[in-house]
């Protein structure tokens, strides 16, 4: 039976419970928005050599960390006071797991910002920025779509994100290969190329976290855990209609 309503968490007998779950969702999406901004700013700071922006990203990471703590606290309170079950329970459990992923994305953004400052100090843009921009856009879109899938409880969209992660992995492999050839061409490139490698690695990790978010969205909607299963299994779960 499909959920036809926008707010499947809002029709409890207890209005207070509705509000607590709505608050949890809203706070999570707010944290998601912060982390998206952090990622976009970090990539922009790197590509444009904007150290000031990179500093801002590093400073704002504390706020992201603080949100993780607050959301975990709220989720714990809901469990303690409401003993949620079924889809409510899956929402709360997923949020607890997903804030950890968001916080890690925030850390990756901070890491990219740190490299952005180092690279900006060294001067002109080295090779590899095209790849950074490309993969950065790709994982930023995945992150955005994962938050969107969460907000709309869209397991189909979540499944697409899981598929995108495979492409990011391929792009990452290709980018590291080309950076290796730059390093072999001219050993003076090595230090800078290594920094870019680390940035690419961080972006690839962001893709993994977006993929984790997507898996949690599928769990929230379908009640089945698709982590560590094949893509075929995830497709079956998403295509599988309830009842």
């Amino acid at each position: 039976m499909p959920h036809q309503k926008d707010d499947v968490y809002g029709d409890h007998i207890s209005h207070q419970f509705n509000e607590e779950l709505a608050e949890l969702k809203t706070e999570f999406l707010k944290m998601g928005g912060m982390v998206e901004q952090q990622l976009n700013d970090a990539v922009q700071a790197l590509v444009e050599g904007d150290s000031a922006l990179a500093d801002e990203v590093r400073a704002r990471d504390k706020a992201v960390d603080q949100m993780e703590v607050e959301i975990d606290e709220e989720a714990t309170q809901v469990i303690a006071r409401r003993q949620p079950t079924a889809r409510d329970l899956r929402l709360v459990v997923s949020v607890i797991k997903m804030v950890a992923d968001l916080e890690r994305v925030g850390d990756e953004a901070k890491k990219i910002a740190k490299f952005a400052i180092g690279l900006a100090e060294e001067g002109k843009a080295p090779r590899g920025y095209v790849e950074v921009r490309h993969i950065g856009n790709h994982v930023a879109t995945m992150l955005h779509d994962a938050l969107d899938a969460f907000a709309r409880l869209d397991s189909e969209q979540a499944l697409q994100i899981m598929k995108e992660d495979k492409r990011v992995d391929e792009e990452y492999q290709a980018a590291t290969r080309s950076l290796l050839t730059f390093m072999m061409e001219d050993t003076r490139n090595i230090s800078r190329c290594m920094s870019v490698m680390w940035v690419l690695r961080a972006l690839e990790r962001v893709g993994d976290h977006a993929c984790n978010l997507a898996e949690n969205v599928i769990f929230m909607v379908k009640g089945e855990d698709v982590r560590h299963t094949s893509m075929e299994e995830a497709e079956r779960v998403v295509g599988h209609t309830r009842g």
Partner: protein, 297 residues
């Protein structure tokens, strides 16, 4: 093989009678949401203690149970949950023929205990109720001593030949019910002087004193405080090693804590039966989900 009591089966009652006490207000689910007589999940077992097929129960003209089919496995703990008036207690009371005492109540369908017809007119109901014991919502000790409460059943069923045998049964039953240490020095004291939680555990001891195979529990903790409730739940876990336990409860957390399987009843239908783990994390039926998440009920 289905030799039902003719007086129970020759009724010709209209099926869709008005439902008394149907819940109103927001989130009221339409009757049409339930497919008639169809239960989702895993209602059947390879190793049934009770095998129940197409069970209908009527109170006069109104049908309280609508074509329910369910197996209850040996040594499982199964919880019946659902909103008030959903038929869970009525269905429970079919299992040791407690409904026989209600004149206007009629039971139809195939109900078997260990493959034998439960409603066979030749069946000895007293013997049946010794095999299928029952614990009620309110503790109902006899106005006798603690000892005599527990010894009553074994005496009338002739389970003990000597006083020492009876003593052993009383002690073992009280031990199993987790009550022995609290009462061993005052077995002659009146049972009515005990606390509510102690009385309920005494009733459980009284039930298991006749070595039943099945224990039916109809909201056994609803009159108890949280500590007494925890003791009874602990007891359910221990008893499940040797008995089949069927518990009706209004506390979904209790169902989640004590049972292996959970059956969700709604307006006389059995909507869903599944492993308790599944019911409380990812129920299959929308109505089950609505009930356990507090959307109506």
């Amino acid at each position: 093989m289905n030799t039902m009591n003719p007086s129970l089966s020759n009724e010709n009652v209209q099926r869709d009678t008005a439902e008394p006490g149907a819940e109103g207000g927001r989130g009221k689910p339409a009757e049409g949401v339930i497919e008639y007589g169809k239960t989702v999940g895993t209602p059947f077992s390879d190793n049934p203690k009770f095998s129940l097929r197409d069970v209908d129960v009527f109170y006069g003209q109104s049908q309280a149970i609508k074509s329910i089919s369910l197996d209850i496995a040996k040594n499982e703990v199964i919880a019946f949950i659902g909103p008030s008036g959903c038929g869970k207690s009525t269905f429970l009371r079919c299992l040791n023929r407690m409904n026989d005492s209600i004149d206007i109540c009629r039971v139809k369908g195939q109900l078997e205990l260990d493959g034998q017809d439960l409603y066979d007119p030749k069946r000895d109901v007293v013997e049946l109720r010794a095999r299928v014991g029952m614990v009620f919502q309110k503790p109902n000790p006899f106005p006798k001593s603690i000892y005599d409460n527990v010894a009553y059943g074994p005496r009338i069923h002739g389970l003990a030949n000597r006083k020492s045998e009876l003593d052993d049964i009383v002690e073992n039953s009280l031990r199993k019910a987790g009550l022995w240490d609290e009462v061993k020095d005052r077995l002659d004291a009146p049972a009515t002087g005990m606390s509510g939680g102690q009385q309920q555990r005494l009733c459980i001891a009284r039930t298991i004193a006749v070595s039943p195979e099945v224990v039916l529990m109809d909201e056994p903790c609803s009159a108890l405080d949280p500590i007494a409730t925890a003791r009874v739940e602990e007891l359910i876990a221990e008893l499940s090693e040797s008995y089949t336990i069927i518990i009706v409860t209004h506390s979904m957390q209790q169902a989640a804590r004590v049972s292996d399987r959970t059956a969700y009843f709604h307006l006389g239908h059995l909507v869903e039966v599944n492993k308790t783990n599944k019911v409380f994390t990812a129920p299959e039926h929308e109505l089950t989900e609505s009930y356990i998440t507090g959307r109506f009920g």
